[in-house]
């Protein structure tokens, strides 16, 4: 409503000049008619006042142009109808020329002032109205829940306040600007110009193509962190280029839209994070339920097999041998289940590593202790330099790597032969190797060894599933390292893996 009256006021002053000319003419004529009967009673000086009043009123109501017209017209009318000799342009007394000049000047100055004042008032009203509209759209944008709503609010604002068509472009996953969803638009965009606005963060304005249905104004949606897209404006067919004040208004709108788009982006990010966390929780609870359900019967199996040895009087030897076999098989099954569950956890992606800085030898010692009897009498020789820095890794997982490698080494090398573990700094990484004195890998260097269910050493009778090395690779790679195998020239296999060295925290030496 305010908008309409604003436009109406503009039109009386500027857009419909014939109306104001007519009103001015009528006003001047009316003043003449009114003053004529008063000629006998009033001095000419006072009649001049009436004319001046008319000019002032015209100026105030109709603006500057009408005031100029009225000033000139009044001088003429006063001269013709009031200054003797009447009904002619001639003047008896030269003094009246001064009156005319003063009348004209006063009229022009008054008109100028009043007209300026009126224009200012108009501008102020216009600005107030725009501010209110901006406030309104800001309120709308603050309440939006989807990008489509943002786009719709922006379009509506541009249509009402600027008289143009708008489109909002947002980058897709590949970074290409695409029109955001939401309603139809007659605004067509020049992708190149939009891209320039997006990457430069500056407004792009091409008035040459204004009115061609193509957007002529591209405003970057600058949010606090980055440009979130582009607001494009197209003036309708046949219209002129946008005036500067409208461009400023569009810029204000663009910053509001930018804030709204960014807010929606963060809402989306938060939702995605929440979803990710929920599915992560679900996955880990399924895995731990599975782990519990599989381990419980295995625990019973191992324990019950063991309890045959408790029977008094002792069972005959063959029965005990069977019990021992059951126990060993159950333990192997437990190891297998552990491997499978670990693999499932690692394969599920985004494993959360519990990385801590620690000496490598500690986890080596723990692995050897954990394996215990499974090492089958193979002595383990550990050669870790004393000055090897602390490494950052998940102790449980790296322990699993060592256990798998030691187990393999024990399985594939002659009884009683030593297994060697070494480590050395190699630039940005620390290389760790586990070597045995067996026959080595038949096809060393082949990465296929690390695939699931591949067994490199085909002579093994029945034992192993080929999961061990696959798990080792998954764990090492999750730590940002690499793993590979080779055969030693003197015989035997070596598995080497690396861990990033990083920058270990300082442990202050205490005064001894």
């Amino acid at each position: 409503m305010d908008n309409e009256s604003g436009l109406a006021m503009r039109s009386t002053g500027q857009l419909r000049p014939w109306q104001s000319i007519a009103i001015t003419l009528i006003a001047c004529a009316a003043t003449t008619l009114l003053a004529t009967p008063l000629l006998g009673y009033l001095d000419l000086a006072n009649i001049v006042m009436l004319f001046l009043l008319t000019v002032l009123l015209v100026a105030v109501t109709l603006g500057r142009g009408a005031a100029v017209l009225a000033a000139v017209l009044n001088v003429l009318l006063f001269d013709i109808f009031f200054v003797p000799p009447r009904f002619s342009l001639a003047v008896e007394n030269i003094q009246y020329l001064v009156t005319f000049a003063v009348m004209l000047l006063t009229g022009l100055i008054a008109g100028q002032l009043a007209g300026g004042l009126k224009l200012k008032a108009q501008e102020a009203r216009q600005r107030e109205q725009e501010t209110r509209a901006l406030y309104e759209v800001a309120r709308q944008l603050a309440g939006t829940l989807a990008l489509a709503q943002v786009v719709e609010a922006a379009k509506q604002f541009v249509r009402d306040q600027i008289g143009a068509e708008a489109a909002v472009l947002v980058p897709d996953e590949a970074g290409h600007l695409m029109p955001a969803v939401g309603g139809r638009t007659s605004c067509r965009c020049e992708p190149h110009l939009a891209q320039v606005a997006q990457s430069s963060g500056e407004l792009v304005r091409t008035d040459e193509i204004a009115g061609s249905d193509y957007a002529s104004l591209y405003l970057p949606l600058k949010a606090s962190l980055r440009v979130r897209g582009v607001l494009a404006l197209a003036v309708p067919h046949g219209a002129l280029a946008l005036p500067d004040d409208k461009v400023a208004l569009a810029e204000a709108l663009a910053s509001l839209v930018a804030v709204a788009v960014e807010r929606l982006h963060y809402v989306e990010v938060a939702q995605a994070t929440q979803l990710g966390m929920a599915s992560e929780r679900l996955r880990s609870s399924i895995l731990s339920a599975l782990s519990h359900d599989l381990r419980t019967p295995l625990t019973a199996l191992v324990g019950l097999a063991d309890s045959f040895f408790l029977v008094k009087p002792p069972l005959p030897a063959p029965a005990l041998e069977n019990a021992q076999a059951i126990r060993e098989q159950a333990e192997r099954l437990a190891g297998l289940v552990g491997n499978l569950l670990d693999m499932a956890r690692l394969n599920a992606g985004n494993v959360t590593l519990r990385r801590e800085w620690q000496p490598l030898e500690e986890v080596v010692g723990a692995s050897i202790k954990l394996l215990g009897g499974a090492l089958d009498g193979h002595p383990v020789r550990v050669a870790i330099p004393a000055d090897l820095p602390l490494l950052e890794f998940d102790a449980v997982l790296i322990e699993r790597v060592f256990c798998n490698l030691l187990e393999n080494a024990a399985k594939y090398s002659p009884a009683g032969s030593p297994i060697e573990i070494g480590a050395a700094r190699a630039g940005e990484v620390v290389e760790i190797r586990v070597c045995d004195r067996g026959k080595g890998f038949p096809d060393a260097g082949a990465q296929g060894l690390f695939d699931m269910f591949v067994r490199g050493r085909n002579e093994a009778a029945g034992s192993g599933t080929g999961l061990g090395l696959a798990i080792c690779r998954a764990i090492v790679e999750a730590h940002g390292g690499e793993i590979g195998v080779d055969n030693r020239p003197e015989g035997g296999a070596c598995v080497r893996f690396t861990l990033p060295a990083g920058v270990p925290p300082v442990v202050e030496e205490e005064p001894a």
Partner: protein
């Protein structure tokens, strides 16, 4: 101590209860069974057992709550049974006051060894404490603050000595990283586990025969440490 030591077994799986019972009865203990936490708490109050064997994964709640309840009025040894995937649960249980844990699946031999160790500690705590501790070739005189290895004096820094004392104070018990850091370095260090690891390494260098394969200062990976006399 009169007669057989009493053991309370809280475990929901019947078959596991059966062999655990057989194993500890062979050790000369008397077993009271409970299937649920609620039942376990009642039995603990009425039978006053000498040792609690507790499965952490019970259907009716968290075993850690039971440990906290018990620690309010009892210092009976507590042995936890848990699945390997629950590192955090183990740490929480140990921090709450449990003494040791067994990872499923476990054998009868391991179970008996742990039970024996825990019961022995209980009976020993009544005897007059000696300032002398010996393990391997090492002899520690706590009253004179002297550490000897194979008859030779070993120099320990103040922190190393404090850490040694903290470990020696609870032979056989798993001490969590948090607990050791708090006792030796102070509460502001509980997150700086690398300090602990480095200093345990120092102790092993000075006191173990083979520091890479320690026999007395054992690592419980990602949980803590155990001193094994």
């Amino acid at each position: 101590m009169n007669g057989k030591p009493k053991i309370l077994l809280v475990e929901d799986e019947k078959l596991i209860r059966r062999f655990v019972r057989a194993a500890v009865e062979e050790e000369g203990c008397q077993v009271v069974e409970a299937e649920t936490l609620a039942r376990g708490l009642i039995e603990a109050g009425t039978t006053k057992p000498d040792l609690l064997v507790l499965d952490l994964g019970l259907p009716d709640g968290n075993g850690i709550d039971l440990i906290r309840d018990l620690r309010g009025w009892s210092d009976m040894p507590i042995l936890i049974l848990s699945a390997r995937t629950q590192e955090n649960d183990k740490i929480d249980a140990l921090d709450a006051g449990a003494d040791d844990y067994l990872t499923k699946p476990f054998g009868v031999g391991e179970l008996q060894a742990r039970v024996r160790a825990l019961l022995r500690r209980r009976t020993r705590s009544g005897e007059g404490a000696s300032p002398l501790v010996e393990f391997g070739a090492v002899r520690v005189d706590l009253s004179r603050r002297v550490v000897e290895r194979a008859g030779q004096g070993v120099h320990l820094t103040p922190i190393e000595y404090r850490l040694l004392c903290a470990l020696l104070a609870h032979p056989g018990k798993v001490l969590t990283q948090r607990a050791l850091l708090r006792d030796v370095w102070g509460p502001s260090y509980v997150e700086s586990s690398h300090y602990l690891r480095v200093y345990v390494g120092h102790l092993r260098q000075k006191l173990e025969d083979d520091p890479t394969q320690p026999r007395h200062f054992l690592t419980e990976t990602s949980v803590g440490y155990r001193f094994q006399p």
